[in-house]
């Protein structure tokens, strides 16, 4: 069943610049779609438009149906229910999403309490578990800390824990592992993988890393200058990219990867 259906999505600024241009894609329940593309190509704006969270000075047109709700042009009131329950998001820059003045534990407790109705000791236990799930060491200290008192990668995992605490049908994750070293990254990708299987969670995964995208998603959509240049099964696109930009992308990825091979050759 289609969970997210995006048709002809266009985002423009009030002064007429088109930032996302006639984009169409779907995500079915339990499916994983990767969004990849050049820096500035419109990936983050697409995720914001899907949730009806575009910044002031921008409007979207076209159609975005998320779990049956039309998100384009809908009143703010009807959108708040969808966010959290149907879709939860991990923003690209966790510092902008986390409240600097609220302890991290409380920020996770809020969505948890809303969904589960837990209170007191049980809620604290659930927060502890949510932090452990994203492999944070010293979960109790981190629960008590403020955003600036933990490392970049720890913040990113707190943001992921917050989104997962909602048990959304669709997880929208915008570069959720950029601040993580490769070993913790591998664990987070496995965690997401597991939840996709257990909960039949769908994922819209934004990343600039083709290797990461091919690890977590089935299909991928490649963006450049606000448009989709290519869409298909990840492995096909990596093996046989058709469009010029995708070919350059795969070539650059292989070039960087080879830097590692030279040095680690015995």
């Amino acid at each position: 069943m289609t969970l997210l259906d995006v048709r002809g999505l266009t985002v423009r600024t009030d002064d007429g610049r088109i930032l996302v241009d006639d984009l169409s894609f779907t995500v079915a329940g339990g499916e994983r779609l990767g969004l990849i593309g050049e820096s500035g190509s419109g990936k983050s704006l697409t995720t914001l438009a899907v949730l009806g969270l575009l910044p002031d000075g921008m409007t979207s047109s076209g159609s975005v149906e998320l779990a049956g709700t039309q998100m384009v042009g809908a009143a703010e009131r009807s959108l708040t229910g969808v966010r959290g329950r149907d879709a939860a998001v991990v923003f690209q820059e966790p510092l902008t999403a986390l409240d600097p003045l609220m302890r991290l534990g409380r920020q996770i407790a809020e969505p948890l309490a809303r969904r589960t109705g837990l209170t007191g000791k049980h809620l604290r236990g659930a927060v502890h578990q949510a932090l452990e799930q994203v492999r944070l060491p010293e979960p109790d200290r981190i629960a008590r800390a403020f955003a600036h008192e933990v490392s970049g990668g720890q913040r990113q995992r707190v943001a992921l824990a917050m989104a997962l605490a909602c048990e959304p049908k669709l997880l929208i994750a915008d570069e959720p592992t950029t601040a993580l070293d490769v070993s913790v990254q591998a664990e987070m990708l496995e965690l997401i993988d597991g939840l996709v299987r257990e909960r039949e969670m769908a994922v819209l995964f934004v990343s600039h890393d083709l290797a990461v995208v091919s690890r977590v998603t089935d299909r991928v959509l490649v963006m450049k200058d606000g448009r989709a240049v290519e869409q298909g099964v990840v492995h096909d696109i990596v093996r046989a990219p058709r469009e010029t930009y995708t070919r350059a992308l795969v070539a650059s990825a292989r070039k960087l990867e080879s830097a590692l091979d030279l040095r680690s050759a015995p």
């Binding site: 990849i36 593309g37 050049e38 820096s39 500035g40 990936k43 983050s44 910044p55 690209q92 820059e93 510092l95 902008t96 060491p137 200290r141 008192e149 933990v150 490392s151 970049g152 990668g153 720890q154 995992r157 915008d174 570069e175 950029t178 601040a179 993580l180 070293d181 490769v182 070993s183 913790v184 990254q185 591998a186 990708l189 600039h208 890393d209 083709l210 290797a211 990461v212 091919s214 690890r215 990840v234 492995h235 990596v238 093996r239 992308l249 795969v250 650059s252 990825a253 292989r254 070039k255 960087l256 990867e257 080879s258 830097a259 590692l260 030279l262 040095r263 680690s264 050759a265 015995p266």
Partner: protein, 254 residues
């Protein structure tokens, strides 16, 4: 030769933490030589950069700049330090003043060091933005009007605009797609080659580390477990943690 920057048995403890966050860290950065700091999330990489920048104070040990203890109250030394050392922070958004236009943000090092007037700074700002693949009209816009990777490149433009001797960069390419990443890596390589830039870089992208840094130090839970030539450390890792790190690098399907 005297190292440009040096940590000697340094330790840091944040207020409210029970134990040292980093301890017994000794490393030296020679002029013109680049050092990568790699390690698990939370291992203390950013903390070490903060030490080298004088933003965190060692609870034990010493931080040296050009052979002398780094002392934020020594005004003459601080002036030399600011002229020599620039940095790119891990979180670009919070390090860019949201109320200023990008042109003013990038010009800031030139202006505050007294190197340029507003008009003589302009062409340098334009060149610095162009080198990181941003268009000239970026100068009139505010940081929130850019994408994550564009903001990261604004931070790199600001840090390189005044031709620093040393660049301390915390995950400077983490938000960049591979094509843009290659461009920025090439830029840093060129600055090293042509201007003798000394680079201290935190990166979890080991291929970027391998392309740019002659030396690598591996940090685990606040301690250096391995350091040496990058080809040695990444090519024949001696420590189990380093091996695990290299094995976890996600690879493209063949």
């Amino acid at each position: 030769m005297t190292p440009v920057l040096e940590l000697k048995d340094a330790a840091v403890r944040y207020r409210g933490t029970a134990a040292d966050v980093v301890a017994d860290v000794s490393l030296a950065v020679e002029a013109g030589e680049s050092l990568a700091l790699v390690g698990e999330s939370g291992a203390g990489k950013t903390t070490l950069l903060r030490l080298l920048l004088g933003l965190a104070r060692p609870t034990a040990g010493a931080v040296r700049f050009d052979g002398a203890g780094l002392n934020p109250r020594d005004r003459e030394q601080m002036r030399r330090f600011r002229r020599s050392v620039q940095c790119v922070f891990q979180d670009p958004y919070s390090s860019l003043d949201p109320s200023r236009r990008v042109g003013a943000i990038v010009a800031e090092p030139l202006r505050s060091l007294g190197l340029d007037s507003r008009s003589t700074a302009a062409p340098k700002v334009a060149a610095a933005l162009e080198r990181v693949g941003l268009q000239a009209d970026a100068v009139d816009r505010y940081p929130h009007e850019f994408s994550g990777g564009q903001r990261q490149r604004i931070a790199i433009a600001r840090a390189t605009v005044c031709d620093p001797r040393v660049l301390l960069a915390d995950e400077p390419v983490s938000a960049l797609d591979v094509t843009t990443r290659v461009k920025v890596v090439d830029l840093l390589a060129e600055l090293k080659q042509e201007r003798g830039l000394t680079l201290v870089m935190v990166s979890h992208d080991l291929s970027v580390v391998a392309s740019l840094c002659e030396r690598t130090a591996v940090l685990e839970r606040g301690r250096i477990v391995e350091q040496g030539a990058t080809s040695q450390v990444l090519g024949e890792p001696g420590h189990p943690y380093t091996r695990r790190l290299i094995e976890s690098v996600p690879r493209l399907p063949v």
